[in-house]
């Protein structure tokens, strides 16, 4: 029932969107809590959009502890980074790295050595405005916490993906981040239409949810009250993907890759049923001989 209604609402959204001129969208991937899957999600989400034909750039805002370039597999190709562009030591064109698999996807790495103090609303705003001229989507990978790096990542956002693990401390921190999005982002400060919030639940384990150890999708929605864009299952493929330097959505056929592809599809307005949310019923043979 819930999904049907969402599908109808999304249809309305696409019809209205088709009449307006397409302006670039800034999407922040944030969570508050660390280690929930922001960078994994940013990499796969941006790759998914690029694979669909949209010119996408993904920016790492974690100055000093960068790892987006590692996940995307381009850490050896970083010549200039975000802070170099801010300080005028390099142009955007020199700093942007084209993804080796997809022509539409570009990466702007964070600085490993410079201080976060280089970031300010004016200079970050300048760079994002310049990126919006040539790209369809600007994905900002936020660091954990609510300090300067996270604040800069969400300040210019039009839409937000809130990444949450199905456990209490992650949900609490996501709630806090939602409060900050609603009160301290540029849209809130200037009194414009508020940021569109989507929830992505990562590392979801249906068995643990059914046994009552983990929060269910309904529990999380009850606390946060924002629509769920998608659910990704707990999987060992994520670690394998980051080890080989490719976003997990490229591991075609795995559960996580399918889940991220569904998320991109739903974001673009398609109606996809939720998968990987129900525990698999083990058949007799499986129970006899073990196996996942």
């Amino acid at each position: 029932m819930k999904q049907k209604i969402r599908g109808q609402m999304q249809l309305k959204h696409t019809i209205v969107g088709a009449n307006m001129a397409k302006e670039a969208k800034v999407i922040v991937v944030t969570s508050g809590k660390g280690g929930v899957g922001k960078t994994t999600t940013s990499a796969s989400f941006a790759t998914g959009l690029a694979n669909r034909g949209f010119k996408t750039v993904v920016i790492d805002f974690d100055i000093g502890l960068r790892n987006l370039d590692l996940i995307m597999g381009c850490e050896r190709r970083v010549v200039y980074d975000f802070v170099n562009v801010i300080c005028g030591e390099a142009t955007l064109h020199q700093a942007l790295i084209k993804d080796k698999n997809c022509d539409n996807l570009y990466i702007l790495a964070a600085s490993q050595t410079k201080d976060k103090d280089a970031l300010s609303e004016e200079n970050v705003g300048r760079i994002i405005a310049e990126l919006k001229k040539t790209f369809d989507y600007v994905v900002c990978d936020s660091p954990a916490g609510i300090e300067k790096g996270a604040f800069m990542a969400l300040y210019f956002a039009d839409e937000a993906l809130i990444v949450t693990n199905p456990e209490v401390s992650s949900v609490r921190d996501s709630d806090r981040i939602l409060g900050i999005l609603a009160s301290k982002s540029q849209r809130a400060v200037e009194g414009r239409e508020k940021i569109k919030e989507h929830m992505i639940i990562t590392r979801y384990n249906p068995e643990r949810v059914e046994s009552g150890e983990m929060l269910s999708i309904e529990d999380i929605q009850d606390i946060l009250r924002i629509p769920v864009l998608g659910v990704t299952p707990e999987s060992q493929d994520v670690l394998q993907a980051s080890n080989t330097g490719t976003p997990v959505i490229n591991l075609v056929g795995t559960n996580v890759a399918e889940a991220y592809a569904d998320i991109v599809a739903r974001f673009l307005g398609e109606d996809k049923p939720m998968r990987f949310t129900v525990a698999e019923k083990k058949g007799f043979l499986k129970r006899m001989f073990g196996g996942k």
Binding site: R172, D175, R176, L178, G179, I180, A182, S183, I223, R225
Partner: protein, 220 residues
């Protein structure tokens, strides 16, 4: 008599202003003090304001008499308001103090603040007047109102009504699961699980005549 509060040496207290002129008799003043006592049993501070030109020596005597009278009723004259009729540092042992204009008694406008969105974690909503929230209040969110607080959705945060001393303020909640409730400074932290009649139900919270917090289910 006007009641208002004043900040003096970082302590706040309520004081009552006693307006006198050269014609005020001791009987009039005594009846005023009796009325004050009946109206407010806990008041202790009195301030003299002078309405017309007074002769300094007779005024000084008058102050001393009023002081002795006030003592009988448990009231203390703290200072004399400086205006065009009273000047000078000390009269009859009481200092003459000039209140900055911002502290002069003002009528407070009670405006109700209406919030339609969820009040998220870490957000503090403060209002002079009532607050109405039609959505939910998250954990660690605070609503502070000088008047009443009405929450139509879930309340999981902290609600502080009657801020500033209004003991008649009330709190109305649609689904009660709050962390902290307070009315006029009387507060309670809710750590244990509430009984089923209250947990996640519609409740009304008020101060009874013994200044205890009462939580009553609303019959909806």
């Amino acid at each position: 008599m006007i009641a208002t509060s004043i900040k003096l040496n970082s302590a706040t207290f309520d004081y009552y202003i006693l307006r006198i002129n050269s014609n005020s008799s001791l009987q009039e003043i005594q009846s005023k003090l009796i009325t004050l006592r009946e109206f407010d049993k806990t008041s202790r501070h009195l301030v003299i304001e002078c309405d017309s030109q007074l002769d300094l020596t007779s005024f000084s005597q008058q102050i001393q008499q009023i002081d002795a009278l006030a003592m009988q009723y448990g009231l203390e004259i703290n200072f004399i308001l400086a205006n065009q009729f009273t000047r000078g540092g000390i009269i009859a042992g009481k200092p003459v103090i000039d209140l900055p204009s911002t502290l002069k008694p003002q009528v407070i406008l009670n405006q109700t603040l209406l919030i339609d969105e969820p009040v998220r974690s870490g957000i503090m909503v403060k209002n002079d007047g009532d607050v109405i929230v039609t959505s939910l209040v998250s954990h660690n969110a605070e609503i502070i109102a000088t008047g009443n607080i009405h929450i139509y959705g879930d309340c999981r945060g902290r609600v502080i009504a009657g801020n500033g001393g209004n003991k008649k303020a009330k709190i109305f909640i649609g689904r009660f699961n709050a962390e902290l409730i307070s009315i006029a400074g009387v507060y309670r932290v809710i750590e244990d699980k509430l009984p089923d009649s209250l947990h996640n139900k519609a409740v009304q919270i008020f101060l009874d005549d013994k200044e205890r917090l009462n939580i009553m289910p609303l019959a909806i």
